[in-house]
Structures are given as structure tokens and as C-alpha cells.
Amino acid sequence: MTAKKDSLRTRVKSWCVCLVAALFLASYGWASERPARLPVEEFALPNGMKFLMLQRPELSTVSAGWVAKVGSANERPGLTGIAHFFEHMMFKGTKTLGTRDPVRDAQIIEEQEALQEKIRAEYAGQRERYRLGEIGDPFDPADRPPALIELEARFVKLVEEQRQLMVKDEFDRIYRMAGATGLNATTNQDSTIYFVTVPANKLELWFWMESERLRDPVFREFYSERDVVQEERRLRIESTPTGRYEEQLNALFWTSHPYKWDTIGWMSDLKTLTLAEARAFFETYYAPGNLTAALVGNFDPKRVRELAERYFGRLPASQRPVPDVVTLEEQQLAEKRMHAVCDCPSQLRVLYHAVPFRHRDRYVFDVIAALLSGSTGRLRQRIVLEQKLGVGAAAAQDAQRWAGSFSVYAEAQEGIPLESLEAAVLGELERLKTEPVSERELQKVKNQLVAASLRNLENPFFLNFQLLIYEGMGSWRHLEEWPERTLAVTADDIQRVAARYFIPENRTVARYERRQGGVNAAQGSVQ
């Protein structure tokens, strides 16, 4: 059925030239007199800690947070998962918060460590037995020698003693009682972000609490929290239909780069993280010069400066530079492939190495992803609706701090071989090299991207989060640069980038095939 021309279409067409211009101007129209910049005020303390402020006087709250520019990319084998695990430890309190007897609490922690040293030596022995084939799993409690059982029992006693002194989760309690909501944190490969929303009149509480836990953290309940993180890994990765395959695909995609492992870490590393490692991690990466704080909401910026100086000014500047991630991803020489049989939908993933965060080509990749994705995107229109080879498909870029990737995902139609789906997806990518995108299609995509950038400004918590995550990746200014740079992308740019990056040597392909006759599979096929 062809679409009939109607008045609606004509009206839309006449807008198309004006729309983007209007959107662009409107997008920063906090007031029409303002320049096209986000009204973010910045300042830094002498110790290097940076602050960003964006006022929203109509709110009754302040969404506040800070980012430590450290993530799982800063880890190494043996220590994977520590950045995320450390995030958990930041909620365990300080000398003042979390215990009734800080002196005895500190002593118990040292006694626990002494025991853990011995326990670690036992587990080294377990790993040796595992390598020799004597046991199947070095961590299986059933295979523990008596010495280990005894040490762990003594450890449990110390935990129980410590618990008597503890004021449980005092950090959370204090915030909650003050009417704060959304206290949480998140770690990714590049950064660790801590955030909360407080009632506007409780602003000083945020300064008190956050500066306190940076100044004087105590990593109590380290070993029970290690168990919690293992459960988190089981929940997110090991108990979902595709979690483990995704993890291995990622490890396949990256040859040398520390993006290779999931932020949650390998299980064998999680089981052996030590308190000393956590402390060293903190010293290295949580110095004020490596932190940026951001506030969005109802506050007086003069007051924020004053509080920042008073509270966070206490943090001593670090003498040591923060280590960079120096390992570059080795240039890929050959296509990589993976084929999994799973209790999951049959699906395809195609990944390419792309560019980092503010690289000039990242804007082109964003436009390419938008051309391919969405309800009228090429993948759905051609592969799902016209050719009926799949039931869903999308593309996305992940331009991270140190490196980037571009991926296409497609879910198969039962009965259609994955070869056909793969051929169709690669065909769409080839088209981008050879056929210039039409003006209308490019306009459509740019409209969507600019509208999305506007929508990203609505929610104050999300706005604050974006400031922090982009700071963690390189600069919050990405938020205000992005629309303009995206609008500048041309049809030529798209062809150039497609030709350069969408080549077999740069590609990793994964096919997941649903296991036939699996317990979850349908009996018989239906058509």
C-alpha cells in the first residue's frame, strides 16, 4: 500500500528545514537571551577536586554526586572486579559512622586480616590441588582441608564480635532519615559514580557525608561484601540466558585492552580480593584531583562553593599522579567468530572496533546507529518487515574513554538460518559505504538525535548523572557539544566512516543458536 499525499505530510515537509534550526536554538533556550551553552558553573579546589553546578530553582531537591575517574579498565588480571567491589565498600562507613567502638573495630579488622592471610595461603594450596586434578573446584566448601575449615570458623567468630559493635548500614540510615532518596552508585569500565537526591534544605548533609567517607573510610565487612558481589555476578551474568556468552564475546572482541573483562570481574578474582588491595586502590585512585562532583537542583551557588571549600577542602592533595591506562588495543588482523548453542533466542551480534569518546568520528557513528535503529530504522524496515529474516534489530555505538566499539544486534526468526540474517546485516553496512544517505533520511535522524539531547535535560537526576559520566569519560562538555557536532555530520562522512571501519579484519561475529529440544524450547514448531 502506498502512502497517499495529504496535508499532514505537506505541513511536515515545510517544517523540515526550519525544524532543525528551531530545535537547535530551542535546545538551550532556558531563556532566549542565553548563549547556546548549558548553564553549568565550574570551579576547582586547591587540592584539585572539581565541582559542577547547574541550578534548577523550581525543584525542592538537589541531585548530587561525584565521579572517581577509575573503572575496571584500570584493573589487571588477578585484581579484576576491584573497582566495582570498592564501590560497595564506600558504603560501609567511616571511623565515626558504622561502629560504636572505632578502636576495637579497627583492631578486629586487623585480626581478621591476619587470619585471612593464612586462609589465602590455604587457598593457594587448593588451587594447586585443582591444577593437579585432585579436586574439581578450588573453592568448593566440601573439599576444604581441616586447617582451612578451622581458620574460617575462627574468622566467623571475629565477624560476629565485630557485628556487636556495628551500627549497621549507618550511612544509608542517616541519609534516609533526612529524606534523601536514590542513594546508590555504579561502576563501569571508565568511572565510578556515587549519587543521591537530597531535599534542598539538607544540602549540607551531602557535603558532610560525602567528604567524610572520602576522608576517613573504613572498609569493614569486607569479606561478607565479597560474597555479596559474587551473588551479584551470579544474578547479572551467570543466571541470565545470555550473560556468560556476552562476557565471553566481549573477551573475544578485545585482544589486549583492559576492556576485555566485565566490570564485575572474574569469579576467581572476586574470591581472592584482599583488603590491602582495596586500600591501595583507594589511595591511588580516590585522590581529590581525580574526582569531579556535580549538583543539579535548588541551591545557592555561593553557598555550594563555601561548603565545598570547607568540607572537601580537607582532603589532602595526592603526591602521586593517577596512572593512565596505557595498553592500546592491538589492531585486529582477522575476523573473529563465535558460535554458541544456548537456551536463549537465536540471535546475531556483529561488532567493530570504533573510536573513543570525543574522537571526531564518534558523531558519525551516532548518526549511523540512528539510521539503522528504531521503528523506521533500516534494520527493522528491511530485515524485519520487508525480508522477514528477523524479529528485531538495532545498532549502537559505545564510545568509551580509552577506546570504542560499534555493534549491531539482530534477533532471528525461527526457521531462518543465521547465515541469511548475517548476510542481510552485513549488506546493510555495505550499503552505507556505497549509497549516500538521502537528505530526508539524514534530516529525520538528526531531528531525532537533537530531540533526544533535549529530552536528556528534563530529569534533574539524569542530568546530574550525565554530567558525571561524561566527566568520567573525559569532559562534561560533551553534553553541550554533541548536538552541534552531530548536526554537522554529512552524507560523505557516513560513507567515509563506513568504508574505513566496517571491514572484515575489524569485525567480530557471534551467533547464538537456540538449543533444539532444550527444556525451555517449544515442542514442535508453529507456523
Binding site: R163, W208, N298, E414
Partner: protein, 497 residues
């Protein structure tokens, strides 16, 4: 926005009135956060009635203007959904919702409609649930008239394109096929069925034969029968002027009538759950555990027991790290990452009381034991004044945040209208929370929690779950509850294999 919310807030010296600030040196940082002094936040609850408008034909509209960004959101809540399906029509509401968005509208075929929406950078969706179908529009002000035209066409004149219907069925069939993959999805589905039965619209899910049976005429009939102005509620927020937008809506919805008036209120299932220890085998290293029973229906919105129940649930497992289950199961013993309790107070039927957690197979029994202990404790012991006060203060001091977002506020008011909350509900909320006593918390725990009525559901490697970790096993804690294996369901038919 300032006028709308009625917020008055003094910013300035953080020291309380009466204490003088040292002129040169900065004030000392108190050694504990309790010593900080804050000025009070005077918050006036927005008057729902002030945002409420009635249009001809029985439409109620809430308009919450916000000129900060050039964006407009409109949500239309229709009193239809699965509960309006007649026997033999199962799945129709789902397909109607999908095809309203994807099947073209007015003069535009599906592809042309989708292209227009995307070109305008508008977002449109239709979402169905058991007792509501919600159609949403999110657009830039610059193209509001065009976007509204498309939106209203979608509501009033969906084409239910035949070819697109075939496509959607094909896509949906794949979605159905995946229903046996994810343990979380399986657990939630099975648990609802155990509580509400298999035959209620609350639990019934689309099957392959439903899909086969549904044709275009069905969709047209269902839409004509149940979509119209009467009983419909709109939530409008953003860059709009109330009079203008109301005038436009009145004009555009003129003559939009359903054949049938919505039978209201909807009625839930009569099923009585059978308490037992149910399990479904799945090869995952973590066991998912769900324990619960039927809870409470919200009939009198001022009922003090309801507020006591909210606080009770927060103390048990709803309050995050300050709750007892979180503290013991996650924080003390490291047995789980997620552990939460819910006491859903449904307006039209008894909601669910549910505790849910995930733990490695060997420690599911131990964590379950703790859940039972804490339920028992709540029933036996009056919680401390402090514990109750913490929750009260948290709920009261975070209350203003509910009204910070105009879009959220408009949607909140629309939901209030739909479920029949009185106009002064939010005005009285805080005082009702404040009025709850520790004794009242224990009373509602005794009255509404019943360990013997608990339905237990485990999804995972059951023999490992049952065996426990050496400290405790399942047999030791289940009392006289029988163990009932649940066969896996064929994902297309949802019938046991």
C-alpha cells in the same frame, strides 16, 4: 513552577536562627551529622483539584504546565485492557495495543505513519495492562499540532493494517517462544499464577492459539467497543497553556465514543492460593526464591491499617539497606545481592505480599530461614520507636520529591483519578504516616501476615537448594508444607509439558 508547587525555601546560613556565626573563621564541622542544623522546608502539597479539568463526553484532563523545555507530554489512560476481553477474546487487548501503534492510522499506512512520527522526532506508544491501556505522546512544542494529529488519529482511527497484523503476529510468536529462557520471568509468572490462578485475566498470558484466532475484525470490534471518551483520563504536561490545549483536545476528541461504557470498578480473581513449597527446575547457579501470599485491597484510602502496613513492609524488606531482611541476608551474611519485600495494596483486588531474593543454591535455605524468622519477629515484637520513626521521617521528608517533576505529577494525578483516590489524599498522606505507632505495626503484621499461608516458589537447581549448606536444609524449615514440583511449560501454549 514555583507558584505551582507553592514551595518556600530559605537558603542561606545553615546555622539555625539564634546561633551567631563567627565573622572571620568558618563554622566548625560537627563531629556527627545529627549535629547539623537545617532550615525547615516548607512544602505545600499541590492541590489536585486545581489541575483538574472536565471535557465533554466524560474525559478528565490533568494539565501541569512547565515552560522550562520545549517539550510536551500527553498520556491517555483508557479503561480497557484484558479485563474487557470476553471469553474467546483472550489476547485481543494486547494485539489492539500493538497494532494501534504499529498498524497505521487515519490516512496513513503503517510505514507512512511511522515515518511521520520519526521525522517529527515524536515518541508515541501504546501499552496495555490488565485494567488500563495507556497511550503516550512525547513531542517537541515546535511540531505539537502535527504530532497531536497523528496521536489522535492513532487513538480514534487505527487502521489495523492486515499485512502489519501478520508481521506483528510473527514477531510476537518469537517473543512467546522465549518465555522459557529467563529464570526471572519464569519465576514472576509462576508466582502470580500460584496466587491468582490460571484463568484470571490477571495472570492469563498470550498463547500461540490466541494469536491464530485473532483477526483484524476482532481488533476493530474491540477497539470500537472499548475505546472512547467516557471514563478516559488524560495527563498533559510541559510546554502548554491549559486553555489552549484543552480547547484543542476538546475539539479533537469530539464524537469519540465507545460502544460500551467501561464496567467499573474491575473485579479480580476469586482464587484461593494453595500454600506449599513449589519449585521449577532450571540449571542456574543461583536459586530464585519468592515467598508470599495474598495481601490487602485498598478500599478506604484513609484506613490507618494501610499506612501501618506500608511502614511494616518498609521495616521488613522494603526500605533498602535500612530494612531487616537486607541487613541480615545481604549485609550481615552476604547471602544475596537483591532481597526485598513488597506489600502491594491494590485498589481492585487483594494485592500480593511477596519477599523475593536470589542466592546461590546452597544458601537459599538459610536465607529463607531468616525471612521466616523476621516475619515471626514482626508479629511477636513491637518494633522500636526509632525504627518506626526512621521510616516515617524518610517518607515524610522525601514526600516533596514526588511533585518535583510536572510530568510525574500529571501522571500521578491521573492514576489517583483512575483508582478513585479522594482529592485530599496527598494532603493527608503525611499526617497519616505520622499517626502510625509501633504497636499498630505489630498489629497489622499479626493480622495480615500469615506464615502458614505462604506460597513458596524456588526456581533453580532444586536438589542443591533443598540440600542446603550444612547449616540448614529445606526440610528443616518447611514445616508441614508439601513439596510440589511444577512442570516446565511449553512457551507457546504455557501448558505443562
Amino acid at each position: 513552577m514555583l507558584g505551582v508547587v507553592g514551595l518556600s525555601l530559605w537558603l542561606g546560613s545553615e546555622v539555625s536562627a539564634g546561633a551567631s556565626r563567627p565573622s572571620a573563621a568558618a563554622p566548625a564541622i560537627p563531629s556527627r551529622p545529627e549535629q547539623l542544623q537545617f532550615l525547615p522546608l516548607e512544602f505545600q502539597v499541590p492541590e489536585r483539584a486545581k489541575f483538574r479539568y472536565e471535557l465533554p463526553g466524560g474525559v478528565i484532563v490533568y494539565v501541569v504546565p512547565d515552560r522550562a523545555l520545549p517539550l510536551v507530554k500527553i498520556q491517555a489512560v483508557f479503561r480497557t485492557g484484558a479485563f474487557r476481553e470476553r471469553p474467546g477474546e483472550e489476547g485481543t487487548a494486547r494485539l489492539v495495543a500493538r497494532l494501534m501503534r504499529n498498524g497505521g492510522a487515519g490516512a496513513l499506512d503503517p510505514k507512512a505513519f511511522d515515518e511521520e512520527v520519526d521525522f517529527l522526532a515524536a515518541r508515541m506508544s501504546v501499552f496495555d495492562s490488565d485494567t488500563a491501556v495507556i497511550a503516550s505522546l512525547d513531542t517537541l512544542t515546535a511540531v505539537l499540532p502535527q504530532a497531536m494529529d497523528l496521536f489522535v488519529a492513532m487513538l480514534r482511527e487505527p487502521r489495523f493494517d492486515e499485512e502489519r497484523l501478520v508481521q506483528e503476529k510473527r514477531i510476537l510468536l518469537e517473543e512467546l517462544r522465549q518465555r522459557g529462557d529467563d529464570a526471572e520471568e519464569i519465576a514472576q509468572r509462576e508466582f502470580r499464577r500460584l496466587l491468582y490462578g490460571e484463568d484470571s485475566y490477571l495472570t492469563r498470558e498470550l498463547t500461540a492459539s490466541d494469536l491464530e484466532r485473532i483477526d483484524r475484525q476482532r481488533l476493530v470490534d474491540f477497539h470500537r467497543r472499548t475505546f472512547g471518551r467516557s471514563g478516559t483520563i488524560l495527563a498533559v504536561s510541559g510546554d502548554v497553556e491549559p486553555k489552549e490545549v484543552l480547547e484543542t483536545l476538546k475539539r479533537k476528541l469530539d464524537g469519540f465514543e465507545a460502544l460500551e461504557a467501561p464496567p467499573w470498578p474491575p473485579v479480580g480473581s476469586e482464587q484461593r492460593p494453595r500454600p506449599a513449597v513449589y519449585y521449577l527446575e532450571k540449571d542456574i547457579p543461583q536459586g530464585k526464591a519468592l515467598l508470599g501470599h495474598l495481601g490487602v485491597q485498598w478500599q478506604d484510602f484513609g484506613d490507618p491499617e494501610i499506612y501501618a502496613l506500608m511502614i511494616m513492609n518498609d521495616i521488613l524488606g522494603g526500605g533498602g539497606f535500612t530494612s531487616r531482611l537486607m541487613r541480615r541476608i545481604r549485609s550481615d551474611e552476604g547471602l544475596a545481592y537483591r532481597v526485598v519485600s513488597m506489600m502491594a495494596i491494590q485498589p481492585f483486588w487483594r494485592g500480593m505480599f511477596l519477599v523475593i531474593f536470589d542466592s546461590k543454591s546452597a544458601t537459599v535455605a538459610r536465607a529463607t530461614q531468616i525471612v521466616l524468622e523476621e516475619i515471626g519477629r514482626l508479629q511477636r515484637e513491637v518494633p522500636s520507636q526509632e525504627e518506626v520513626a526512621l521510616v516515617q521521617q524518610a517518607l515524610i521528608d522525601s514526600f516533596p520529591r514526588r511533585f518535583d517533576s510536572p510530568a510525574q505529577m500529571a501522571r500521578l494525578f491521573a492514576e489517583d483519578e483512575r483508582i478513585g483516590r479522594p482529592l485530599d489524599f496527598w494532603n493527608r498522606y503525611r499526617e497519616r504516616i505520622r499517626a502510625v505507632t509501633p504497636e499498630a505495626v505489630r498489629e497489622v503484621a499479626k493480622k495480615y501476615l500469615d506464615p502458614d499461608q505462604l506460597v513458596w516458589l524456588f526456581v533453580g537447581r532444586f536438589s542443591d537448594i533443598a540440600a542446603g549448606d550444612g547449616r540448614v536444609n529445606l526440610d528443616q524449615i518447611r514445616g508441614s508444607q508439601p513439596i510440589v514440583p511444577l512442570p516446565p511449560r511449553d512457551p507457546l501454549t504455557l501448558r505443562p509439558k
